[in-house]
């Protein structure tokens, strides 16, 4: 941990919040991608059978 001086709270808060938001965005995107992919697989499998 570097020495952040009297503004340590602000800097860590800014980094924390931003990285958190980016993580949420990426996580949500990936999670939704996975879910939609499996759902589509199921539908396509059903189509290919019939």
């Amino acid at each position: 941990m570097p020495e952040l001086g009297k503004y340590a709270f602000e800097v860590v808060l800014a980094y924390g919040a931003s990285i958190g938001l980016i993580a949420v965005l990426c996580g949500a995107s990936v999670w939704r991608a996975k879910r939609v992919k499996t759902a589509l697989r199921a539908v396509e499998a059903r189509r290919d059978k019939s």
Partner: protein, 249 residues
């Protein structure tokens, strides 16, 4: 082979599927290293202390927030003129990213403003116009959600995006006009000083390289997320179409 062929979902899926892992990996590497560099390895500014490190998130996020809207504008135009579905879906996919980036720029700016200006929020023209940009994103996403027919929604959001762009530029101008002459001492303290002329060249470079790397990283992240989300939207539409056909037969 023309560029437009990538508007075919199958082609787009093939190409984007090949590119996506590389872009994601590059984005991850450059962002992580840029933020590590920025957070751990840069010195404190003599005027701003350690808060200057916020710049490595704040500026790239603000940049992406603006560019995401620009990309929506272009893809909306493509949809209106050539009616390529992938284009409309790409616009839809990039809106949440732009919104989150706006949010990040606002939050980091607010956190930065507290020590620098002594307040979390000031009605500075630049901040205000960013807030309004955030509202445009919100409205755009809400309209996509609210209209059930996807083609109709694409038409409506495209029109909104075109008109909205004009009004966003207008309000940027208006807000400048409105806050003119207030001369809040606070808004004078810009970090231009850091990268600009009145500090030593050497110090400037200390901040400039990680900042440039961070901007590259954010840009790659944006590309990766747009590709991923567009792929999801395409799969979703395909699933709806297949389900509909299933019902029919």
């Amino acid at each position: 082979m023309s560029l437009w062929e990538y508007a075919n979902p199958t082609k787009f899926m093939r190409l984007s599927g090949a590119v996506l892992p590389w872009v994601s990996a590059l984005a991850a590497i450059s962002i992580v290293s840029a933020l590590y560099w920025g957070f751990f390895l840069t010195p404190e500014d003599f005027k701003q202390g350690s808060t200057v490190k916020i710049i490595f998130i704040h500026v790239p996020a603000a940049m992406i927030a603006i560019n995401a809207w620009f990309m929506m504008l272009v893809t909306s135009l493509v949809w209106v003129i050539r009616r390529h579905h992938v284009s409309a879906l790409a616009a839809r996919a990039s809106a949440p990213i732009g919104f989150v980036m706006t949010l990040i720029a606002l939050i980091t700016g607010a956190v930065w403003g507290q020590p620098m200006w002594g307040t979390w929020w000031a009605w500075d023209p630049r901040l205000t116009s960013f807030l309004i940009l955030g509202l445009f994103y919100l409205g755009y996403m809400a309209l996509w959600e609210a209209v059930e027919n996807d083609d109709t929604a694409a038409d409506l959001t495209s029109v909104l995006c075109l008109v909205g762009t004009v009004f966003a530029i207008l309000s940027r101008y208006a807000v400048n006009f409105w806050n003119q002459g207030l001369h809040q001492g606070a808004s004078v303290i810009r970090v231009d000083g850091v990268t600009g002329a009145d500090t030593a060249e050497k110090v400037s470079n200390v901040y400039f390289y990680p900042l440039a790397l961070s901007m590259l990283g954010f840009f790659l992240l944006f590309v990766a997320l747009v590709l991923l989300r567009t792929r999801t939207e395409i799969r979703l539409r395909r699933m709806q179409a297949l389900l509909a056909r299933e019902r029919v037969n």
